[in-house]
């Protein structure tokens, strides 16, 4: 459950990226966030990740007011979130397996559990046969699937994807989006920022439209623009 209550985000240089945002996302929802460049989509994601702090207002995630979260609790809070970026952000010197396993090592998961869980995750994203490959041996779509497996590694309840298909050709995009839908069906809340009109129209999910830092449209089964 994610609640934004009158959230304002002003960057130090004076840019008002989000202006009085109030919104509610239920557990297990699938949400598209759309809007022109500079509308504030990435800022919205960064606020949920607690990478940026709100200027005013409140954000409640799973009953925690994250605007009041202390620096030391942020890492533990983030373990409940899985993130995917446009540029994948994999470790180039680690194999597919190691990239996914690393997310678990970082939080101190016992090796035994890692060995059991990583193959299962790779199976979820249909990459079992590529586990020994390095990122530069994979296509963009495949790299993004590795990133998705990594996002799922610590079994978060919320998945955030900021333009996950931005660097991938359209055919592969559909595959990534299907995976996100599949992940949503597993019970996870999924928030996807995208520019791709055709995908939004195709999936008929809830669409939140941002413009100049405010929500201009929010409807289920909505169309882009």
């Amino acid at each position: 459950m994610i609640d934004f209550i009158h959230v304002v985000k002003t960057y130090p240089n004076g840019t008002v990226a989000l202006n009085d945002i109030t919104l509610h996302i239920d557990d297990g929802e699938f949400v598209f966030v759309v809007g022109a460049s500079g509308a504030g989509k990435t800022t919205l994601m960064k606020l949920i990740l607690r990478e940026e702090k709100v200027t005013s207002g409140k954000i409640i995630v799973d009953d925690i007011d994250i605007t009041k979260l202390s620096y030391f609790r942020v890492p533990h809070y983030r373990r409940n979130l899985g993130v995917v970026f446009q540029d994948f952000r994999l470790f180039p010197k680690k194999t597919v397996y190691e990239n996914v396993a690393f997310a678990m090592q970082v939080v101190g998961t016992p090796q035994k559990l890692i060995k059991r869980r990583v193959p299962a995750l790779l199976k979820t994203v249909n990459l079992s046969e590529k586990s020994k490959c390095f990122p530069n041996e994979l296509s963009g779509g495949e790299q993004q699937r590795v990133a998705l497996a990594r996002a799922l590694a610590n079994n978060p309840s919320i998945i955030i994807a900021d333009e996950p298909t931005g660097n991938i050709d359209p055919k592969m995009s559909l595959e990534i989006m299907n995976l996100l839908i599949k992940i949503n069906k597993l019970g996870k809340t999924v928030i996807v920022v995208t520019h791709e009109k055709s995908l939004v129209d195709y999936y008929q999910q809830r669409v939140i439209s941002l413009d100049h830092g405010t929500i201009v449209d929010d409807r289920v089964g909505g169309m882009y623009e």
């Binding site: 030391f72 890492p75 533990h76 952000r89 690393f102 090592q105 970082v106 101190g108």
Partner: protein, 295 residues
């Protein structure tokens, strides 16, 4: 249950040192120099203090006789000295005895002196003790009138000299040391900063998957600690080499000073080096990280 592997952190730290080779080397070199100076300073002070303690009879004059005197002449000189009222005791030290004493002081280097027994470069001498510092002038005046006395030396002069040297050295070294330490910490801060920078993207990924501050920081803290450890171990061997060469080069030229053998101080020096080296390393990396981890 949460389990973290020490080997992961150490591996990351060593990788950082290797990747950042030039800066790591500079850090180690400067910190090492700092420790060597500190060590030299400590050794000097320890030696000075020991020697001051050993000068238990400060009221003592050593009278060196001319070379090639006959036994008769020496006995005659002894008789003349005995006439001085202020002289309390007189003890003769033959040239051979003096050489043996020197050899003893050299400890492990004693064999260096073997060759000198055939053609002893030292002369016979007398040790005169007296009760009161005031007597010194009278005794010295009398000694001037005795033929066959080459030179004499009273110990108070040495006491004064040594404490003067000690104070001068203390002053210079402390400044030097302070500057070196500041430079060391500064270089380590920059080394770690560079190391953090070269892993910026890795760190950002680690943050996204929920790595705690200490998990991210520990490799860098260890990197500083390992730099400190390397520096301290190298410094120890450099110190040993320098001290032994110093003792060796002084050899026969100093008759009154006892130098403490390195082996007696080795354990303490190594321990202190490691403690200071590692602490400095950790301090440098902590300062470097404190800016970074605030965000």
């Amino acid at each position: 249950m949460r389990r973290y592997r020490i080997s992961y952190f150490i591996g990351q730290a060593l990788q950082g040192i290797w990747r950042n080779g030039v800066m790591s080397f500079a850090s180690i070199a400067v910190l090492m120099s700092c420790l060597v100076v500190l060590g030299a300073f400590t050794l000097l002070i320890v030696n000075i203090n020991t020697n001051l303690e050993n000068l238990d009879e400060v009221n003592k004059i050593i009278v060196f006789l001319d070379y090639d005197l006959t036994e008769e002449q020496i006995v005659d000189i002894e008789r003349q000295i005995k006439k001085i009222d202020e002289a309390k005791t007189i003890k003769r030290i033959t040239a051979d005895e003096a050489l043996r004493k020197l050899a003893q002081r050299a400890g492990e280097n004693a064999s260096l002196y073997d060759d000198y027994y055939k053609d002893n470069p030292l002369s016979d001498s007398f040790e005169i003790t007296y009760d009161d510092a005031k007597d010194l002038t009278t005794i010295e005046f009398e000694l001037q009138g005795i033929e066959g006395v080459r030179k004499y030396r009273d110990q108070r002069y040495i006491v004064n000299l040594i404490s003067d040297i000690k104070n001068g050295v203390l002053f210079v070294f402390l400044w030097f040391l302070a500057i070196l330490f500041i430079v060391s910490v500064f270089i380590i801060i920059n080394t770690i900063k560079l190391s953090v920078y070269s892993r910026k993207s890795e760190i950002s990924i680690m943050r996204y998957v929920g790595a705690t501050g200490w998990f991210i920081s520990l490799p860098f803290i260890l990197e500083g600690a390992i730099i400190g450890l390397f520096a301290s171990i190298i410094a120890y061997f450099v110190e040993e080499y320098l001290y032994k060469s110093f003792v060796g080069s002084l050899g026969i030229s100093i008759e009154i000073i006892t130098l403490i053998p390195f082996s007696e101080l080795a354990g303490g020096i190594l321990a202190v080096f490691i403690i200071i080296g590692v602490t400095t390393g950790i301090m440098g990396s902590s300062i470097s990280l404190s800016k970074y981890t605030k965000k």
